[in-house]
Symmetry: C2
Subunit: 509 residues, 2 copies
Amino acid sequence: MSFNLATILREPRRAHPDKPLCHLGELTFSYAQVDEISGRVAAALLGSGLRRGDKVAVQLPNVPQFLFTYFAILKAGLVMVPLNPLLRAGEIAYHLADSETRVLVTFELFADEAVRGAAGVEGVRTYVVNLPGSDRRPDGTRSYDELYAAQDTGEIAPTEADDTAVLLYTSGTTGRPKGAELTHFNLYMNCTVGGELFGFRDDDIGLAVLPLFHVFGLSSVLNVAVRYGGTIVLVPRFEVEPVVAAIERHRCTIFSGVPTMYFALVQADLTGRDLGSLRVGVSGGAAIPGEVIRAFEEKVPGVVILEGYGLSETASTTTFNISAEQRKVLSVGKPIWGVQTRVVDEADRPLPAGPDQVGEIVVRGHNVMKGYYRNPEATAEALRGGWFHTGDLGYADDDGYLFIVDRKKDMIIRGGFNVYPREVEEVLYAHPAVVEAAVIGRPDAKLGEEVVAVLSLTPDAQVTGEELVAWCRERLAAYKYPRQVRVVAELPKGPTGKLLKRELKKELG
Amino acid sequence: MSFNLATILREPRRAHPDKPLCHLGELTFSYAQVDEISGRVAAALLGSGLRRGDKVAVQLPNVPQFLFTYFAILKAGLVMVPLNPLLRAGEIAYHLADSETRVLVTFELFADEAVRGAAGVEGVRTYVVNLPGSDRRPDGTRSYDELYAAQDTGEIAPTEADDTAVLLYTSGTTGRPKGAELTHFNLYMNCTVGGELFGFRDDDIGLAVLPLFHVFGLSSVLNVAVRYGGTIVLVPRFEVEPVVAAIERHRCTIFSGVPTMYFALVQADLTGRDLGSLRVGVSGGAAIPGEVIRAFEEKVPGVVILEGYGLSETASTTTFNISAEQRKVLSVGKPIWGVQTRVVDEADRPLPAGPDQVGEIVVRGHNVMKGYYRNPEATAEALRGGWFHTGDLGYADDDGYLFIVDRKKDMIIRGGFNVYPREVEEVLYAHPAVVEAAVIGRPDAKLGEEVVAVLSLTPDAQVTGEELVAWCRERLAAYKYPRQVRVVAELPKGPTGKLLKRELKKELG
């Protein structure tokens, strides 16, 4: 009759209440504590007038309050809208309005920008999580501490398995960000099946440096660890030294990261450091080069890197390389339990196996979102024929292993973050001097890709490249704006007038 | 977006297509065969005009066609209505009409009665499964073989997790049989969590003598075995010799049965027989006396009997004793993962722990049915307050173990005192001469009800009724011991081997 994803917290809490669920620096919270605190926050949210299905936006780094708020939202039968802390006011306003968010939980360090964003949207109440010892927050906001004041009832709302639990914004392949509706069932299945893929046990300790507001961190790191009664070590941002120190201190067994993180660790001097507790490195978010796998496994003996593939719309994991014996380097592995993938041509006809049979990857199974929130057209288009269309190009080999050829046609992945060229192009097009804009990724040793804009300008334009970079910087998150602007007389176009980004990429490459 | 329970067949079929899924006598069907044949039957059902959500009644004993039809129904996005082969025409008509069944699949041996039942209902097409070598079937019916003629498309309908997969008729606590709607999610969760309880592995071989049309056989025997890629040995009806022979021949590792089956095996002469392959005996459906557990485990060394508790409305397993170390004899164990139970008083207020705190057992979790089909009143009543009301009486101890005291409707009220028949039966079973015991209430002008025991005894028993009354009197409170003892050759039993107290009551009434 009912199923609530918060069950993944309640069950291990019953089995071992005093076991640490998470560490952050000197702080530790046990299962019982996270259960009880999230119960209080749930009661406070419901007490403040929220009703089943209402949206609560959470714009927090990897701090314990993320966990408290997340489980509170689930327990109360509300819906979490995770937001990237780097969003600018205009972007925040868009997300809050589109999702019909009623409560925003943000962090002291980006509260000013968040409040500017929320100001443009009616009826949003904002709570601020402070840094330890601080109580600074913008006017009109409330302290997150207020949410601790209610009494934990122990109740978990009897949501249905197919009810939406998380509304995860993603640009998908086209257009403005859309809210992918992930259900209690989607997320339960993904952490349950996902945790089995690398044999997550209750004595495993996962390093949580991937952002929890992203589906990879949320499902494969946080949910998996809680589902199987393990522990996570929160690290709010990736830097080599704190990450290595956290692994050493807590004897972490699982590291989950994007390729640039593995690359940074391979590059770092780890002489005298002890990463021997690690047994598995999970990689996703972008293709990990075979060189990096080999170098990392040589540097950290005993660890095996297992690569997977997934998207926001597929509640994270879709395919996975399940073991050192069964993996194929450069492949993202095979579909996980209960998930089917196909490679299809432009008319949605299945293609046979083989590297010369590149087509769009489509997915079906328990991991596929319910749809895009309040966007039936985009939902129908993405889910046409009963398959979710990833927009990613790839092929399958004879053994059923999937190979991604091109990530989401033109999407740029800069330091693990997705940058959708169209969004940046929209900002550039808004500048009076810009005639045509193409935003592409230039290969970059450190970040994977760097964002570059190629533009043509009006004949009388007086603007400099620096001024155009600054224009974008004011309007976009730090990871999105182009670091380089190139001005050309005309952009290359195909017969239909479509910009040929591939041509531009070749020139830059 | 979608989840279909047939995934539990498709996944092991991919992993090991040629492995046996089921044996029946000399017959064996592999995973690939069951997948392919059920695909053909699915295509035939859809080809005959059935649409998503239509009902197909299945009235079959434990034969491979049960599996073909069941998985075909799931794959086609239809709904299975399992029917007991022993139903009479009037009962069959009621079930077909109430469930709006469009297709009935029945068996040669009870086809005449089935057809008489179906005749009273409009628009039901009947297919008959024949015995090997026979093609006898009533006029107006079709041969099941027709359903093999279509082509397997390999398709599995994209049902939602919360869609109904099985409509399981049950009398519940009151009134005419009602169709409990079990969803793809209910049944998936139950076999997944259920199989973990006794560590079902892909090399396990389960004996399937419990009827598959009953929730215990369907979920805990068939679904569990398929979900974990194991094998089942079909035995169409319980008799000691064929069961023992099947265990020996196929080296069965798991025996699932009701207490009367264990009891029959305890009574049987097993000299020279080899049941050494068995590692777990799962017991459910009724309370298993401690005496029977001890005797069985002594007789079959290496086996452990684990008792669970569940109902049709809870997609089978609700509580379980997970291991020899953790079990408590006479308790049905603790709630399984993701399930909560409570003991409540008549005003639905939770009662504290303790044997003197007997109340109705209520259940909440992923296993609870969606509701009773087309019966909103009964649904609202059974699920009031968000908890399913089992109609069973029991209590919890301080460790959270549940003890079933009795069915609410079986409880005897003698002179204002509650007498729980099970407690009295336990005392009778402890007597060496008693084979089977049923304690019931006989209408009594003065006391309301009087306690009566109906017993069957060992062939060489010399004991008198008075002696048995005295035996109870020594061991039970004055208001509890039976004032009358009746000895019969055999107690009336239902198809699952459950004692039919209602029949006894009728005789006494």
